[in-house]
Amino acid sequence: MARIDLGRASLVRTLVVALTLAASLNARADAYRVLHVRTLAISVDRTRVRVGEPLHLTVRAVVGDRVEALPELILPDLTAFQVLADSERLVHLDDTTSFIARLTITPNVPGRLRIGSAALDAVDARSGRAMRYRSGTIAIEALPVTPDEAARVLARAREIGVTAVAVVLACTAGLLVVLRRVAAGSAAASSAPALPVLSEAASPLPAPDTLAAWADRLRHAPTRANAVAARAELWARLGAQVTETADDVLRKTSAMAWRRAIRAAERAAFVEPAGEAAAARELAEALEALSR
């Protein structure tokens, strides 16, 4: 019977892993293609869901090249979500290629969650420099399970005799909260793969992290969906609580520019369909005024 020298075996294992990683890193670095990156964006169909409810995340990358695959695309960090389904498709139009990934995700825990940026590593065809393109991020408000749903779950648990289901779920949710905090703490290190240093260029799209960018997005696409997302961003910046309405937020805000933006956001989110575009543009103006 062979006796295993654990110390030596461990050292050998570490060396093998390191060499493999280094090789793969080199391979990946050499694999960066020269691409004309036109668009890199992420969007969701709704920004306010309950825990367990699905929402659809769309990642869209458009390059000015005819490619059959886009392995350089890095999907957003979805640590706080569970991926229920995903699909990908590639669309060619003239010399451009659109890569669209659609994921059905659901939040695991309640609270204000963030869908991280999608990233695309490539050598920019114009400058010849290795670049990391990033999309914007999206804030999702995950509401707690309603008493109705909680009652239904408990009733079901009693029916099948699994009375400990609620306890297990609570522990899992607590564990996920801890894991999310750990993941968020190491996000800066883990979001970027261990690659040779690339110069991070700004995404060709305005980053929706700024009010000016939101205004720009609304001007280009004055839709209710964008208005609702901008409203959520505005509420987040104002520190609004989950249970607060626009009137509550207005009561806490005295600055005229912010009050104008709050009213415009409320209107744009709930206006009748005929006024959707005009209200979205009005919100864009209000956000633009705030960003100055």
């Binding site: 309603t146 008493p147 249970t243």
Partner: protein
């Protein structure tokens, strides 16, 4: 000439404020019920201008007004009408009851027996009455303002929850503040001010039509449903609000949007009207009183706990 909804309603509100000191919640509630095409239940101690508010509102919209004092010996025919024998023509003819008006004030509705209450509630629901096989439509608009005296429990027939549910809103009429009471003495020293119509029934019908057409986003509708459902799973509630409450909540929220010159309802509209729409549709547990909790505070806490869109 049809007035714009907000201008016309604001004028009616301003004129009501001339007649009634304070009581903003009651005035707002009456106008919301009128615009939403529903009926209102007013609860308050005697002498708080409930009757004055009803008569003033009827005068301001140019509508007909009737008042019925509900007593234990009242009969259904005293409300809806009956057939009487005309000796001159030797024929039976229908004599329409006081329900055939635009605003009917049913004073102390909890004093009449169940049969009379049912007749009234059926008229409220169907907007028509049947007398001796003949169906007679009630006028439009038709609004019942029912009052309940919360003090005298002796000799009353409390409306069951299923019937109270038919009232769109329940308005609590609170006593005036010291300043308001001084204002009452100053204003009514020479008698109640005479009010002239400032709107027509056609205007009211147009406002009601506009309220029905107010846009409500799916998120706003979902919020209304969530609010109502939150009353069904509270540990201090025996029976929560029914789906009729969801319809009522949306209708009154739409009316509030019209009063604020909007063609769309917002979550604030729903939340603002929720107490008036829900307070009479909930059967609270005995534990509420046993623990010394306030019903109104508990209701507002439930409403505040539901996250709006």
């Amino acid at each position: 000439m049809e007035r714009s909804a907000v201008g016309g309603v604001a004028v009616v509100r301003d004129e009501l404020a001339r007649a009634i000191v304070g009581q903003e919640e009651m005035v707002e509630g009456l106008l919301l019920a009128l615009l939403a095409g529903g009926h209102a239940l007013l609860e308050g101690t005697p002498g708080l201008a409930k009757t004055l508010a009803c008569t003033s509102l009827a005068r301001l919209i140019g509508g007909s007004f009737r008042r019925v004092q509900f007593t234990p010996d009242l009969l259904p025919s005293d409300i809806i009408g009956t057939r009487i024998f005309d000796q001159r023509s030797s024929e039976f003819r229908v004599a329409l009851g006081p329900a055939f008006c635009n605003l009917l004030l049913a004073d102390e509705v909890n004093r009449a027996p169940a049969k009379v209450q049912s007749a009234l509630l059926e008229a409220m629901q169907e907007r028509q009455v049947t007398i001796a096989g003949e169906t007679h439509a009630l006028p439009a608009p038709f609004m019942v303002l029912a009052t309940q005296n919360p003090l005298d429990g002796e000799g009353t027939y409390p409306l069951p929850l299923a019937q109270v549910d038919r009232f769109l809103v329940k308005i609590r009429v609170a006593p005036p503040s010291r300043e308001e009471e001084l204002e009452i003495l100053a204003r009514y020293g020479d008698g109640v001010p005479k009010l002239a119509p400032v709107a027509a029934l056609d205007d009211v019908r147009a406002w009601q039509e506009r309220a029905r057409a107010v846009h409500a986003e799916p998120a706003v509708r979902a919020y209304a449903v969530d609010l109502v459902r939150a009353t069904r799973y509270h540990p201090l509630i025996e029976a929560g609000a029914s789906p009729r409450a969801s319809l009522a909540l949306l209708a009154v929220a739409r009316a509030r949007a019209v009063m604020r010159d909007r063609a769309f309802a917002t979550p604030d509209d729903v939340r603002a009207v929720a107490p008036a729409v829900l307070r009479h549709r909930i059967a609270w547990s005995y534990r509420l009183a046993a623990e010394g909790r306030d019903v109104e505070a508990e209701l507002r806490s439930i409403i505040a706990s539901v996250a709006p869109p």
